[in-house]
């Protein structure tokens, strides 16, 4: 099996883009804050190398085996990143915000149902059934990821929880890439994975991902705005205020139970 000139360039660019992002994550000390995201990038470096050499020296069966095994890992890690981003936004004091927990589960449920419905509508033209499953699988994960990120955005805007700078940047990149993924996988489904136009959709997706990588490299390299420091006086006032609020609310809640 051989790669076309443009595909080879995109693969090489992707490999070095991932390496550059890894360097940024490690040298700028972002990796401890985003362990799943770092694992995702690391797995993509590994994936690029394994798939490249399997494509060059292996058989179709070996490529198929590695492609699917690594795709499952990739999608799993992407959902772990969604969880990581959600936990950064919706756990402001270490536990899930009570007004977010149920809604997040609803968003997940609705997203899965909507994703399955849209995927059921897709009838990708492919010579063998396994290719149709590849297209449907990719389409479903793109739909689900984009829904989850938009859902999180809506929920955070509604309940008023802020996104820290780097969390917002990672989510924007992954969310936008997923949206483009919906478009390209829909193209694969409508025109067929073996059509002449199919490689264009793949290339659009790869270029979009490279843009996303570049965005992450720049944004994660930049320092997030420094949080402001509380004075000792204000800190003690805040603790007193917190105790007072809790006391007031406990009275109010006790009344409601009557």
């Amino acid at each position: 099996m051989q790669l076309s000139g443009l595909n080879f360039v995109l693969w090489v660019a992707g490999f070095f883009g991932h390496l550059a992002l890894l360097v940024v994550l490690i040298t700028r000390r972002r990796a401890p804050d985003f362990p799943f995201f770092t694992c995702l990038i690391l797995s993509n470096v590994f994936r690029t190398v394994v798939l490249y050499f399997t494509l060059k020296y292996g058989t179709k069966q070996e490529y198929f085996y590695f492609y699917w095994s690594l795709a499952v890992i990739d999608v799993t890690l992407q959902f772990c990143v969604v969880y990581e981003m959600a936990s950064k936004v919706f756990r402001p004091i270490g536990s899930w915000a009570p007004d977010a927990r149920g809604k997040l589960i609803s968003i997940g449920g609705i997203s899965i149902v909507a994703g399955l419905l849209l995927t059921a509508l897709a009838t990708p033209a492919a010579q063998i059934w396994i290719k149709a499953i590849v297209v449907k699988g990719n389409f479903f994960s793109s739909v689900l990821m984009s829904e989850l990120f938009v859902g999180m955005l809506v929920l955070s805007a509604k309940i008023g929880l802020p996104w820290k700078t780097h969390v917002a940047r990672i989510s924007q990149g992954l969310g936008l890439y997923s949206l483009i993924g919906v478009f390209t996988e829909a193209g694969h489904s409508i025109f067929g994975i073996e059509s002449r136009i199919a490689p264009i959709f793949s290339e659009v997706r790869m270029i979009a991902y490279l843009c996303c990588l570049g965005y992450w490299i720049v944004m994660l390299w930049r320092t997030a705005p420094e949080p402001r420091q509380l004075s000792d006086d204000m800190r003690s006032n805040l603790y007193a205020l917190q105790e007072h609020t809790e006391y007031d609310l406990s009275k109010l809640r006790a009344w409601r139970k009557q």
Partner: protein
């Protein structure tokens, strides 16, 4: 392109349009909040509508069970609560101010990680009032507003009162600009 593919294509277009529309709308809401983060107090304070703080305090303290003069609840009648707050419209003003208070909590969470607990408490209280008002709105649609009003409204008002008291105390201690305007409005 057969009819099945056409249905799929239409489905995708609708899906992407809805998703993009929602995302853009939410990003705009976030950028309004970022206005607070950037310190644009004028815009924020313009969104606050004046309420009769004395009436709010009266209704709230009646529920909490003490007043400045006495430790006994005065048990304000339901019709009086309705009049003191100005009915559902008055409650909706409180709801609108709650949205501004959520933005203030947003500001605190964004910039003062140490104040997360207080900010989160304020945010949850504001959300609680929103919930009470939404129940009242539902009751108004089913014609049961007068019966439901005392139950939900007084709780909402009491929570609003406690919350604004906390916010004012917090901003007073922090010497944030715009405090006098905030005190007037809340």
């Amino acid at each position: 392109m057969n009819s099945h593919e056409l249905i799929f294509l239409v489905g995708i277009v609708i899906f992407l349009a809805i998703l993009l529309g929602i995302a853009i709308y939410s990003l705009r809401r976030h950028s309004r909040k970022r206005g607070v983060v950037d310190g644009d107090w004028t815009k924020l304070l313009k969104r606050i509508e004046a309420v009769d703080r004395d009436n709010v305090k009266l209704v709230a303290l009646d529920l909490i069970g003490y007043t400045q003069e006495s430790s006994e609840s005065t048990q304000i009648a339901a019709t009086d609560i309705w009049d003191l707050i100005g009915g559902l419209e008055g409650l909706e003003v409180l709801e609108q101010n709650c949205a501004v208070l959520i933005d203030l909590a947003f500001y605190l969470q964004q910039w003062y990680p140490e104040a997360l607990a207080v900010a989160e408490s304020l945010r949850l209280n504001a959300r609680e009032i929103e919930w009470h008002v939404s129940r009242l709105r539902a009751a108004s649609q089913t014609g049961k507003l007068r019966n439901s009003f005392p139950d939900y409204a007084q709780r909402a008002i009491a929570t609003y009162y406690l919350m604004t008291k906390n916010v004012l105390a917090l901003y007073e201690k922090s010497n944030f600009p715009g405090l006098i305007e905030l005190q007037r409005a809340l």
